[in-house]
Symmetry: C2
Subunit: 739 residues, 2 copies
């Protein structure tokens, strides 16, 4: 089959695809799906989905997934509760997990399984349910999940357990089913919905499903009450068991819509009519190959596995939220209609993904980047400000800052087509002047910093908000709004107001302007009640991405700055009780969470690029692998992955709205980025041997010209060309002693 597929690809392809590898084969969806001792899980899942789709069809190994198994799956588990159609990839909090099905024969609501009988490829997942010996295959389209259940014991009745009550843990976020319905509309068709409040405040999930065999009997449960063979059931705890008689195979295709049952049917029809399970599986794989194949690399097989899985994880979200007919539920919970050609996306874990995932989309997915930006602006239209963390089209205000701003500014300044610049600026300006949760701009403007007694997480917010304001200033400048530029430019320097001249830390102040003492730079905060967010004073010290040279100056010059970085990466100090969010340590650097992500690249901006090369190589080598615990922390909607993708290619967006990337040290032997504009950007890395100690940059040239400042621009990439590294085992300059 694979050969046929490749042939198809070649026959359908343009000039580019002539070079296309089947790169989807390198993806290992089990990476990041389970922690091992003393590690954090990536909270990824192995199930079936298509790039940026609405449906994520995967197994739940927990009855009520929550924090540590947010995606529903834990590689360490041995039981499957069923296969549900939506979920988040890599988050630290759980939601979605809608509409669960489990094929059974005896009456049961879970089954044992083992990894020997489990495998997954992009768009496809299969497992054997041991208890009844039922094979399960899953694939997906954007709005639909397709199930193929193989009942090995054909002398027993083939059944499907169908659960509308199953969800992420009801104990979190006041989660509660508001109402739900299952309706049998014909022997082979059911439909219904569930309305639920949770991390997303209101989700309406309308469903329709078609079975390949007629239902011969049905138990419909409303709480403890069972009804046999009734047409419809409504309630807040609905489950059903559908019998199909003795069958060897039962297939089911289930589509969802956030708008209506009619739309769910239309979604199903448009995406699956006339197609077999295998057709859809092939198309899903093909879609992944088309997306992943935009970057062709040469590297060790293990590196390829890590790289393409990471790239895959960056493309699981943001998720489509509009139906095939263009209807969607807006941020004000009303039903709206998109203009023809528009698509509405959600799942914006922006505190994470503005750093590297969104800059990556501007390279690989410029058209979709515009869709993302326009989707965020739609929240502004109906909510009044841009998203902080947008889930199912609604803000859950998770984390801090207003990092839709860098994403939008970056997209506009990079010239991504399809964005109304004036409208984008309006949304940004309103979002950065209208006070909202964790963004009290009245306080910001009055004090020039966030006083901890008026706004908790004050130091982290002060640093991150300064950056967002800098981004706004750049767009104001681009649009010749001089007064606004000055306003935001002034704000962008507010980080200075919390820089303690003696300790050289960013430290909390109260509203009297007094330092809050004592100050312990090792002590961690979580998500409130402390000046630092999911980190400590050491980790947040490095957060002035828009003015690294000023941070260097504040620290006492390049030498002092690099010494301080040396201490950061080599300190053994562990007095600060780390919390759940801190993992993947290199000294005090915690690669398992986002505040650290840009820090290794700062050496290159302070005259000691060898240490950047050493550290990013060390991090890639020690904190990524192909196991279920292949990430050092939660993948956070692909952000941990995006760091890898950039770093493996040899550069990283330290300031994610600058259009600039700082050169690190590539993993690949060579790479080719096939750009949407038809051009190609090549990366080559010349090494003397195959040894993996050749990580130091002897020279780096763009189209033959030396990149002495270690800065590559977005324009450089998009114009096409070649970035040539010559690598060596010997650093140019001092390096660190790493343990």
């Amino acid at each position: 089959m694979k050969k046929i597929y490749l042939l198809t690809l070649i026959l359908l392809g343009t000039g580019l695809t002539a070079f296309a590898q089947d790169v989807a084969q390198y993806v290992n969806p089990f990476i990041g799906t389970g922690a091992v001792a003393n590690s954090l899980s990536g909270n990824n899942y192995p199930g079936a989905t298509v790039p940026f789709g609405m449906v994520q069809l995967s197994l739940d190994t927990r009855d009520a997934p929550d924090w540590a198994q947010a995606s529903g799956y834990d590689y360490n588990d041995g039981e499957i509760f069923g296969f549900s159609h939506t979920r988040l990839s890599g988050t630290g909090a759980s939601d979605l997990i809608d509409i669960l099905m489990l094929p059974i024969q005896d009456w049961r609501t879970k089954s044992r399984f083992s990894h020997e009988n489990e495998s997954a490829k992009p768009g496809y997942y299969t497992v054997l349910l041991k208890d009844d010996s039922i094979g399960v295959e899953l694939t997906a389209t954007e709005h639909a999940g397709l199930h193929r259940y193989i009942y090995n014991n054909t002398e027993k009745i083939a059944r499907i357990y169908f659960d509308l009550n199953h969800s992420a843990n009801k104990g979190s976020w006041g989660r509660q089913i508001i109402n739900s319905q299952i309706r049998k509309v014909s022997p082979t068709r059911i439909e219904g919905y569930r309305i639920i409040t949770g991390w997303a405040k209101l989700r309406k999930i309308y469903i329709c499903a078609e079975f390949s065999k007629p239902i011969t009997a049905a138990e419909m449960w409303n709480g403890d009450r069972c009804n046999h063979d009734i047409a419809v059931i409504n309630g807040t705890n609905l489950r059903a068991v559908f019998d199909f008689g003795c069958q060897d195979v039962v297939e089911c295709r289930l589509a969802i819509s956030p708008v209506s049952i009619d739309n769910a049917w239309e979604n199903l029809r448009e995406e699956t009519q006339g197609k077999s399970f295998d057709d859809v599986r092939r198309e899903a794989y093909q879609q992944w190959n088309a997306e992943l194949g935009k970057v062709q690399i040469e590297a060790d097989s293990e590196e390829k596995e890590i790289f393409y899985t990471a790239l895959y994880h960056t493309m699981i979200q943001p998720n489509l939220l509009s139906d095939v007919n263009g209807q969607y539920m807006a941020a004000d919970y009303s039903t709206r209609q998109l203009a023809k050609g528009e698509r509405h996306y959600t799942t914006f874990s922006l505190w994470d993904t503005y750093r590297a995932a969104h800059p990556l989309y501007t390279v690989l997915e410029p058209e979709r980047s515009a869709d993302f930006v326009n989707s965020m602006i739609r929240q502004y239209d109906y909510y009044g400000y841009l998203p902080i963390w947008q889930l199912w089209g609604q803000d859950n205000y998770c984390m801090i800052g207003n990092h839709a701003v860098p994403v939008i500014v970056d997209a506009v300044l990079k010239g991504i087509p399809g964005i109304n610049e004036e409208k984008a600026y309006e949304a940004i300006k309103q979002s950065l002047t209208t006070p909202h949760v964790n963004s009290p701009f009245d306080v910001w403007d009055k004090y020039g910093y966030m006083p901890e007694n008026l706004q908790s997480q004050s130091v982290s917010i002060t640093l991150e908000q300064s950056f967002d304001d800098w981004c706004a200033a750049q767009l104001a400048k681009h649009l010749n709004r001089e007064d606004d530029y000055k306003f935001f430019e002034k704000r962008s320097g507010y980080y200075r107001n919390l820089h303690h001249p003696d300790t050289k830390f960013f430290q909390p102040k109260n509203s009297e302007g007094e330092w809050i003492l004592p100050f312990d730079p090792y002590k961690y905060g979580a998500n409130g009640g402390y000046p630092f967010t999911e980190g400590n004073g050491w980790q947040y010290y490095w957060y002035v991405p828009h003015n690294v040279s000023d941070l260097i100056k504040l620290t006492g010059g390049e030498k002092a700055f690099c010494e301080r970085l040396d201490e950061f990466f080599t300190s053994n100090e562990t007095s600060g009780a780390k919390n759940d969010n801190a993992s993947g340590f290199v000294g005090l650097y915690a690669h398992g969470n986002e505040p650290s992500h840009h820090v290794a690249y700062l050496y290159a901006m302070a005259g000691q690029p060898a240490k950047t090369q050493q550290l990013v190589s060390f991090i890639k080598k020690t904190l990524y692998n192909t196991s279920s615990s292949g990430y050092a922390g939660n993948d956070d909607c692909g952000e941990m992955s995006a760091w890898y993708v950039f770093s493996a290619l040899g550069f990283y967006p330290v300031n994610p709205a600058s259009g600039e990337f700082i050169i690190g040290s590539p993993t690949v032997k060579q790479a080719s980025i096939r750009l949407q504009n038809g051009k190609e950007f090549k990366i080559t890395a010349k090494r003397k041997s195959d040894k993996d100690n050749e990580i130091y940059v002897r020279s780096v040239k763009l189209n033959g010209r030396s990149l002495d400042n270690f800065v590559l621009s977005y324009r450089d990439i998009m114009d096409g060309g070649t970035l040539e590294f010559v690598l060596s085992a010997k650093p140019k300059g001092k390096i660190l002693e790493l343990k």
Copy 2:
């Protein structure tokens, strides 16, 4: 002004209006608004609304209205928390209570008031807020509330306190605000919404408001955080204070929509554009006069006050739920579009209102009756069965039975135009065969009664469901569905399976077919956990409205039946601890709740009509008055009122789906019902004097023909004609000793 209005009426009017009195003047909206010692409140409210409108603009004298002050108002209270835009009239449970405004000058969230400075007329309410000396006037259209605030102290700033958190008690029904928004769109315009779960599982109330003066300053509160003069605020506990500078008058018009903010604006525009507060007030009054004037009576002024207030209370609901553009939220929470000319209604408190209110609508509001029926059928379309108790378009399953069935069957068999008979029957058949909450039809069909161990409230449900099945049988017959007719006809006799031959009570059985003993016919049940619903064995004994002659037979013949009725109406037994729902006693008869309502009329069906005449006159005289405690119990969406309207005219629908009315004793001197078909039905009551003891029927003739069986038909009324009573102080036959 009133004179001008009358002139307008005459000028605009048809032939009928030439006789029209200004009957709206007789309405006293304070009747039923507050209990006195040992009474129950009608739970009515005095605020402004138009007939069957979406908006009910009235004051809340409780911060969080609940059971005993379900409409938000208690005449015994002395403080006003503000004026909110939606509520229920007469229910025992509270919900709605949306979007509160209170004019203030000093910062406060409530104000004292007294009844001396309060008055109300249909569509108009006025009060003086004492603390700041602010006059308040309210009026309404179908979708909008209009406020006129007169600030007597013009040296202080005129303010409006605006509260999106205010609601019925958050402690009931898991009530919780899911999200809400206030947005200032111009100095004189705001908009927003709140999404809330409660007794109605999901309500989206979109709002827009226009002020007559510009907002000069605004405090916007999100929980404890206050923001000044910001454009928009989102959250689950939103309040605002709008300043208007020093003003003598500030007007506000606020419209709502269950669909979108855009629709709210369209509703406001369509209904109020170019109209002054006084124009709208006049139109509201005119609408009430047009509706109430369909029945013109001559009677004592006190009787007129009770009568027209009762008629007014029957027309406060069902409530419009569709927008002016025909959009509405369907029972599956999706947005739907009505066909041109259709209107979608809700607030179907059917366990109450199927008895008399809906039969009354078939006489006075045939066109709207079709709208009501079609609205219920729309629930069937998207929910799978007809409503039990429908609030904001959704079933809350309050109470028992499936009494949309009698309402629909009655409307169809009476020939109300605009109902698809086949569709109506489909909805009924599905609703009576698909098990749902409190309606386990699998149990019903298996046992031929509800066994208490399988379905609580089993005796009450068995009795009421038998009636609903009888109704279904009649429609099946009408549509020549012989098999279905037999099926439902058989079920309609299931009440017999719980009739105990020795005790002559309907008594509970278990699923083994055994009587559950001991049985205490005086002991009350509430809403679950006992075989009787809001009543006891005595009160439920009389519930076979579709086969009174069989009940007479089961009781041992007419004599035994009447003796049992005598005991019912004269017993002093009070051993059965009565609950909140029992009040308005005449012996064991409890007029304060619906199960008793038809019982006084049964004498006339068992050969002792004088006792019916005596009792209905006694009940009208002693259990209705013009005070705030003018009802003997909750008005229950106009059902207590509908009993009065029929009984004052001299007849009552004992079987509310039979098209027949049983003759009682009229209160009116004469009455004229102006029918939508252009005909007129007159009632005359000849008495020798003005004394109110002339209550006994000497003779009753329809168009000159004696009504010896004391049965009047719907057809008789709709054909027009005259019902002539000759009344006397002397009964024909024995009467009771009443205390």
